[in-house]
């Protein structure tokens, strides 16, 4: 699994509550990514990071923020969760090559 863990693996939360998902890597890689996966949409990039404190938006960044205060951790925050954010969230890292991304096991988030 290229040393990537995600926590929690499953979460149920109520509309309007804040939620933070954590991605942790043990490989000391510079690039980290957050995706969401929904039926009919495949994987869509939310945010990514190219170094500590360096982040950028992806295709579906509205309603999400990220932080990276140290190399090994990339946090995804839903400030006020909505039902449309019910999804499976995947973290990925780039293993040094420019393009190959390796994925974590995912977090299933349900917003009721």
């Amino acid at each position: 699994d290229a040393g990537i863990t995600q926590s929690p693996r499953h979460k149920v939360t109520e509309t309007g509550t804040p939620v933070t998902l954590r991605c942790h890597q043990t490989e000391n890689h510079r690039y980290m990514y957050w995706y969401r996966q929904d039926p009919g949409h495949g994987l869509r990039l939310i945010h990514y990071s190219y170094g500590v404190k360096d982040t950028d938006k992806g295709e579906v960044s509205d309603g999400y923020s990220v932080s990276r205060s140290k190399t090994e951790d990339f946090l995804l925050t839903l400030e006020s969760a909505t039902s449309s954010q019910t999804s499976v969230y995947f973290c990925a890292i780039n293993l040094g090559g420019a393009y190959e991304q390796y994925f974590g096991p995912g977090t299933r988030l349900t917003v009721t």
Partner: protein, 110 residues
């Protein structure tokens, strides 16, 4: 993840057949293409990649073909096995991000 296969095009093959999964990409400036496999309940797994200056690359039981003229990518799996059953995604890259296709479900029956 679970339910990722809903609403996807599906390819059904018999064990031992060769499988061909196709993908149309959108950005003619993409410089790198990757195929991923995703089994139910797991994250996508890297299979094989190809640079835009190539038209064919072979791996173990897999071959990727790239036709830049029509912006088409294919994944060929030789002697398909039940363990190959999964959803397959193509992805195109420009700079440091990937854009994924919607995926194809491959079902292999014994």
């Amino acid at each position: 993840g679970e339910n990722v296969g809903l609403h996807l095009p599906t390819l059904s093959v018999q064990e031992g057949d060769n499988s061909i999964i196709n993908c149309a990409y959108s950005n003619s400036a993409s410089d790198y293409f990757i195929w991923y496999k995703q089994e139910s309940g797991k994250g996508p797994q890297f299979i094989i990649d190809i640079r835009s200056n190539m038209d064919k690359r072979q791996g173990q039981r897999v071959t990727v073909l790239l036709n830049k003229t029509v912006k088409h990518l294919s994944l060929q799996i030789a002697a398909t096995q039940p363990g190959d059953s999964a959803v397959y995604f193509c992805a195109e890259s420009q700079y440091s991000t990937l854009t994924f296709g919607k995926g194809t479900m491959l079902l292999v029956s014994p």
